[in-house]
Symmetry: C2
Subunit: 407 residues, 2 copies
């Protein structure tokens, strides 16, 4: 607390954190830009050479072997970041950056159904943590810096800085949000996003033109759909945990796990049971479709299935974009049932499944307002909060603490 009328200590605090947050943002935003450019090349290579899918098992083996040989210290990925923020032990090894970057690009090149925010967040966190070493920061400062790195990574990938800033604060523990990192997270998120934009990154725009009016019916639909989205999020997290722990129990040599996962995916798709280009990879085209035309429920089920298999087996990239896909297509498919505009319910599903899976209802609401406009706020807030209540206490991040019970 400061007593003098002119808060000199606060100016120092402000200058220090502005500088550190901008440093984090430049590192994380540039890494994210490099990643997004490579990812876009990799994704289009896979779509134009679908036979690459037959190599998915070997790609999986290689990613697994790389982590076994060089990456055991960073294999926990996002959870390692959360653990270090809760309980600081040692600086995140810089090798997290090339490993998660390479692992994700290889996963996408051969058609695994994975996301991209895990990569950006891990690069952001690991790069941020290198500043700990350079500036010899205290443990408290280091925790804040890591949170800023998460926010910057998330913001540069999705282009939603306010949601990303609150994500960095909210993801640590369920049911609680602390403000100590408020300024570093918002600055890192805004500047990280701008840095990525300056490198030439551009984001996908999802347009909702028709919103329902606020009524007992539309709010009731938000509550019912919020519960459905939350239960979907819960199933997603639990099935990934189950597949992963089942494989760990049965398959001791870790590179074999993504090999087998990749083999199953390649066989199912290659033998014609599913449309490869719909459910594999990042899935942006289908997410855009969900805002554009009515879809069948099979899209969300297909994506769910291939994603839990890919991530449970150990492919890299993250959960969030697949969650957006599952939510948007599920919302779209539910819309006739509830007499709602399909693009609108796609937008609600997009954020609400994510809100439940990551236990981040406020970040998801803000993200909805950033992506779709402030008009969606009331609906998104209701659906995200109900989804959060229904998603249970174990989300996609095993190292997230339970701050307060949900109800």
């Amino acid at each position: 607390m400061h007593r003098s009328p002119i808060p000199f200590g606060l100016f120092k605090h402000l200058a220090k954190w502005l500088a550190l947050a901008c440093g984090v943002a430049v590192l994380a935003g540039s890494a994210a830009a490099l990643f997004l450019f490579s990812l876009s090349w990799v994704s289009s290579t896979f779509s134009s050479h679908p036979w690459l899918l037959w190599l998915l098992p070997f790609a999986g083996f290689f990613v697994g072997w790389m982590y076994l040989r060089f990456g055991q210290s960073v294999e926990a990925g996002n959870n390692l970041l959360l653990d270090e923020i809760h309980d600081t032990k040692r600086v995140i090894p810089l090798r997290m950056v090339p490993l998660v970057l390479g692992g994700t690009l290889i996963s996408h090149l051969f058609g695994a159904s994975v996301g991209r925010e895990g990569t950006a967040v891990q690069m952001g966190g690991a790069l941020a943590d290198q500043l700990t070493r350079v500036f010899q920061l205290s443990n408290d400062d280091r925790r804040i810096l890591l949170m800023a790195g998460i926010s910057a990574g998330f913001a540069s990938v999705f282009g939603t800085p306010i949601g990303a800033a609150v994500f960095g604060l909210e993801v640590l523990a369920t049911g609680r949000l602390r403000y100590e990192a408020l300024l570093p997270c918002i600055i890192a998120a805004i500047v990280g996003d701008q840095v990525a934009l300056m490198w030439g990154v551009h984001h996908d725009y999802f347009t909702i033109t028709l919103f329902p009016s606020i009524s007992a019916w539309s709010l009731g639909v938000m509550i019912v759909c919020g519960a459905i989205f939350g239960l979907t999020a819960r199933a997603f997290a639990e099935v990934i945990h189950s597949i992963s722990s089942f494989m760990k129990r049965r398959i001791h040599y870790s590179p074999l796990r993504p090999f087998i996962g990749g083999l199953i995916i390649a066989l199912l798709v290659g033998l014609g049971f599913f449309e490869a280009d719909r459910y594999l990879g990042l899935g942006i085209p289908v997410i855009l479709e969900a805002f554009d035309a009515p879809l069948s429920i099979t899209d969300s089920i297909g994506k769910f299935f291939f994603t839990v298999l890919s991530l449970g087996a150990g492919f890299k990239g993250g959960e969030v974009t697949p969650l957006f896909f599952i939510g948007a297509t599920l919302g779209n498919a539910l819309s006739p049932l509830f007499d709602m505009p399909f693009a609108f319910l796609a937008g609600i599903g997009f954020v609400a499944v994510f809100a439940g899976a990551a236990n981040t209802p406020l970040a998801s609401t803000l993200m909805a307002m950033e992506l779709f406009g402030a008009e969606i706020g009331v609906f998104a807030a209701t659906a995200c909060i109900v989804s959060y209540l229904f998603s249970g206490h174990s989300g996609i991040y095993g190292s997230q603490r339970i701050g307060d019970g949900k109800h």
Copy 2:
């Protein structure tokens, strides 16, 4: 925690809180509508009969006497609500409702410079708490219900349900936000707002057509102006506390305090030192002007002066609308200095002074996005967070706890 795949306990929890939150919302929204209609009549009566100002000292005496005679148990107002949420003792007496309603209307009828959210929040909280008695709720449930009442009252007065919901969660303690009341607060806020709208309430619209682009300059301006807004908020809270405690020390018979405060205001304005219609009452016309034309810095100084005197002396109504006025006119006046569009910086000041004074940076950011559109989010978030950091640890609500230090 629930273990069964179908969360029955959660359905019960949901049904219970939906019902309670809707009950709170109907009560608080209807009371707010009644209040806003009366307030609008009272405000226009004062503008068309400016001589009423000469009766302000007697009006002050009467309000003070009313609280001395009937209202000692509820005189703490907003702080009583916060205290009861932190540390439940006994149900808020229902008399809080007529006293704060009457006290506020009288304050406005004779030209005190006060707000209106205190009234709505106290009516919302006190009415919500009557349900505690009816349904014999536990202490934990009662705390959540009171928070929902605050959110519903705030939402119905300002028409910004998401900001209002987060306000109810965020106002309890600085530096911390807990999620236990998330669902009841959002439902009470949305439904309370809708109930008030159904009664025919309509809100003022503030339009910002020109936003700056995100750049080092515009973000730097947000940080510098955020600091100015935060220091203004800090001065506002501290001067009110000083005037109030000075008067309490010197004037033992409490009705004399607003009498003397009213006398000073009436003399200063009546003798022609200030323009009465600009700085007295709610001040909505000048807030609208701040979005419409360049203003001089004297507007924010004049409003500051008359508000701290009115509230410090004991007039009723609240701080928030005057804070919006001070922030909007100050932002407007600062805009040429920083080469910013004046309506834009008025909008930033509007929310950021409030963010600092109430220690509610997230609620204020959400409110900005609801009022001015999602485009203002990045700027509002930065300014509100910096204002929050610079406003010190004692805001306008003395009973707000310090959850975590600010830096």
